[in-house]
Amino acid sequence: MALSILICDDSSFARKQMARAVPAELDAEISYACNGEEALQAIEEGKGELLFLDLTMPVLDGFETLKVIRKNDINTMVIVVSGDIQPEAYQEVMANGALDFIKKPASKDKIREVLTKFGIL
């Protein structure tokens, strides 16, 4: 069965860029969300076994979204994809249950590397 991937980013360009970077050999069904709130809704609908999550977003940002996922024990694997590459941001998302952190712009090679590391690919 195809893996449901959710790409959450407020920028349509970033969502597109991310979708392009998902390796073609991965049997995946990609959905999109523009902020954390939409992402949580989509996960509930079964669209986010794997979540690529941006940090700086309106409504509900990535940091808060991670906290909600952790607090409610929501079943999804989160990989943060962000332009905020400060050491503090990295530590905070890893402490809040993210599997990994990929700095923007995400490349196909980096995505492949991370997915392989976690046995997804």
Binding site: D10, S11, S12, F13, A14, K16, Q17, T56, P58, S82, G83, D84, I85, Q86, P87, E88, K103, K104, P105
Partner: protein
């Protein structure tokens, strides 16, 4: 009519400019964070096509009556040119001295040096990140003082610019735990807009 299209940006392009600025801003903030050992709070960058005489109104991070200090720095590369402005709210300086462990008096004598240094770092890193994504190599000039302890209207004088429209990218940086506010403003010349749009369209293509 054709000119109007050439010198305009649509929503898709604006989103792309914003995302590219977001990545570049993050790289600049990371450098600053490591250097000053602080956490920089990142905003969502504002991208607007404005008339140069609307510039003062467009600045959201600093208020029109506040006392401010600022430096500017020109840049150029591959048919794209512009000017970067770094504007500090003067209320920031006492916390800057706290951050750098300076005595209050020391800060005043080092204020200009600090402004120039921060401008070099933020502008350099931003342009590098922005250019990398668009495949443009930018060169930056030396920073020069726009004004110290003045209000915004004294700092930004529209007749300083020889172009009328500008593509403005505004980033309001804040430092976590400190009362330090600064605005980084990248102003691209009118003639740069079609060149930039071409590069953006290339990125937007499938």
């Amino acid at each position: 009519m054709q000119d109007e299209v050439k010198f305009s940006i649509d929503e898709e392009q604006r989103d792309c400019y914003q995302e590219i600025s977001n990545v570049a801003m993050g790289q600049a903030a990371d450098l600053l964070a490591r250097l000053l050992k602080v956490k920089v709070i990142l905003p969502i960058p504002q991208v607007n096509l404005i008339e140069v005489n609307e510039l003062r109104m467009a600045l959201t991070g600093v208020h029109k009556d506040d006392s401010v200090s600022g430096v500017c720095q020109g840049f150029i590369g591959d048919g794209i040119a512009g000017e970067a402005l770094l504007i500090f709210n003067d209320t920031s300086f006492s916390d800057i001295s706290r951050l750098l462990n300076y005595q209050e008096a020391e800060v005043h004598s080092h204020e200009l040096e600090f402004l120039m240094d921060i401008a070099n770092i933020l502008v350099g890193a931003f342009l590098h990140g922005f250019g990398e994504q668009l495949d443009v190599g930018f060169m930056q000039g030396h920073p020069s003082v726009l004004g110290q302890h003045v209000n915004l209207s004294e700092l930004i004088q529209p007749n300083h610019y020889r172009w009328s429209k500008t593509l403005a990218v505004e980033i309001s940086y804040q430092i976590d735990g400190y009362n330090i506010n600064c605005d980084l403003l990248l102003l691209f010349t009118e003639d740069s807009i079609p060149v930039l749009n071409n590069k953006i369209n290339y990125l937007l293509e499938d």
